[in-house]
Amino acid sequence: MENINKRHSVELIPDKCIGCTDCIKRCPTEAIRVRNSKATIDENLCIDCGVCIRVCRNHAKRAVTNSLDVIRDERFKYRVVIPAPSLYSQFLRNTSINAVLTALKRIGFDDVLEVSRAAEMITAETVKILTEEECPKPMISSACPAVIRLMAMRFPSLMDNIMPVSAPIDVAASAARQMAMRKGYEPDEIGVFFISPCSAKATAAMYPIGMDKSDVDGVISIADVYLPLRNIMAKLDPSEYEDLCQRSFEGMGWAATGGESADPRIENAIAVDGLENVIRVLEQVEDGQLDDVDFIEANACMSGCVGGPLTVINGYVARNILKKVRQNAASIPPCRERTVDIPRGSVSLRLKNRISPANHMRFGQDMGEAIKNMEDIEAIYAELPHIDCGSCGAPNCNAFAEDVVLDGIPVEDCIFMMRRKVKELAEEMADLAAKMPQTMTGEKAGN
């Protein structure tokens, strides 16, 4: 058992933050507060979904990833890049996978191993679990780390429903290292670099969920690799394309919603995307309403990873491009040599550790204390204006009431409570002013 909600890649760039309420209101876990005119992220609540990166108009949120310079790190004698399939969906005018992969090598990587290849092995394992093994229904995909972290925090009763398979990135990374070792390199001379569509995968690649250690040495965002790649691709003649594609057409499908659950052997599957929708579906699972469903594919991002927060083009457009990429790729003649890059049995396809709920006991150390705090929160909430204006720095009046009781935030941080206090004070002063001292009441003698 391990607590997965402690590591993060999403962070604030304080100089750019103007302390507005855009991100606090959009964060799906209410993890952000504005304090002293700057947004602050509660690390216990953040799931690295990247929504705040997307919505901040001042670009004050970012995901910590490696810059492309990491490949020039002297430590590494052999560099293998493992691109997420969502990368292929980013180039409007070139839908050849071999163009993308060749360009990646020209950037400075020595070899390529596609995460989509690993995804296909995970699909096979998923089918095996669903059809041959005893498991609770519905099983929920473990592919989107933002969803897994959300579940650890908000859906502790569904931990056993999480599909216990490895993330394709971890499988690909381990296979990539072995591939380089077979070429004669020592493990620590090999650099494995993941090209990521999102902050959640960036975190999970460095600190894998349900595994002891990561085989990933660096994570580069699609956004950072996009322009260099595009520029090389524009200059490449098709005759220069190397045949690097591993023909994992099904695995490429994982990049968009519906792809992971498309295998015809998975009979009753639901594919849901967008965190709000995911939450709604998970609520239904919890209420026992979806017991007849076998598998739920859940992606935090609309359209799936092609719509990830570190991608470049519109997710809906990207989804269409991905379709073309897969069609094009299907016309490349088979090549046996590269399709066997991940030998069976060489990588672990199952999660080693169980994922545990991430309960941080925000409301109290025991039930008694927690109930008392909740009652105090209810009482404060009843006094608030319920218009969720955000001026207090909390996303809504309810969250503010929690902050008052649990974090000792003064209730006067609410401008309405402040005005009420001022009014009360003013009335009290008027009352006081009307009161006459004893020496001035009563009739004056001698009139």
């Binding site: 502790p156 009763s157 209420d287 026992g288 109930i371």
Partner: protein, 136 residues
């Protein structure tokens, strides 16, 4: 602590909101996951019944350190034969409710299975009261 919810007549799309809110509170109180799951299933089924079989009603929830007590009161048509209603698969749900995925006749059996105390009182023409308690 006490919580109270009004369930509106015919609001199929919003049915389940009260159980959702209770689940949220229980999670914040760090109630064990398996207990939350029991309460969620039992309360959801009872809440849905208020919408599809009666005309809405009132739900009162009392969260105590050792148990959660839920009372659901409606003034709907009532249940003529409670023993029959408790049987698995028995349902008088309308086509409308069935089209929305309700009406499998497993609601009351699931409430009984997922509670430590269960009581249902009903009078035809007057209404139905369901009481559910789950130990923590």
């Amino acid at each position: 602590m006490k919580l109270s919810y009004t369930v509106l007549e015919g609001e199929y799309a919003r049915a389940g909101e009260a159980s959702s809110a209770v689940k949220k509170v229980l999670k914040q109180l760090a109630v064990p996951a398996n207990v939350i799951r029991k309460i969620a299933v039992a309360m959801f089924e009872a809440e849905i019944n208020m919408v599809i079989h009666a005309n809405g009603g009132v739900i009162d929830v009392d969260i105590l350190p050792d148990k959660v007590f839920i009372q659901l009161v409606d003034t709907g048509p009532g249940i003529p034969d409670i023993e029959k209603a408790k049987q698995e698969g028995f349902s008088t749900a309308s086509d409308e409710a069935r089209d929305l995925g309700f009406g499998a006749g497993m609601g009351i059996p699931n409430m009984m299975k997922n509670s430590d105390f269960f009581n249902i009182k009903s009078e035809v023409g007057k209404g139905t009261t369901v009481e559910i308690a789950v130990n923590l």
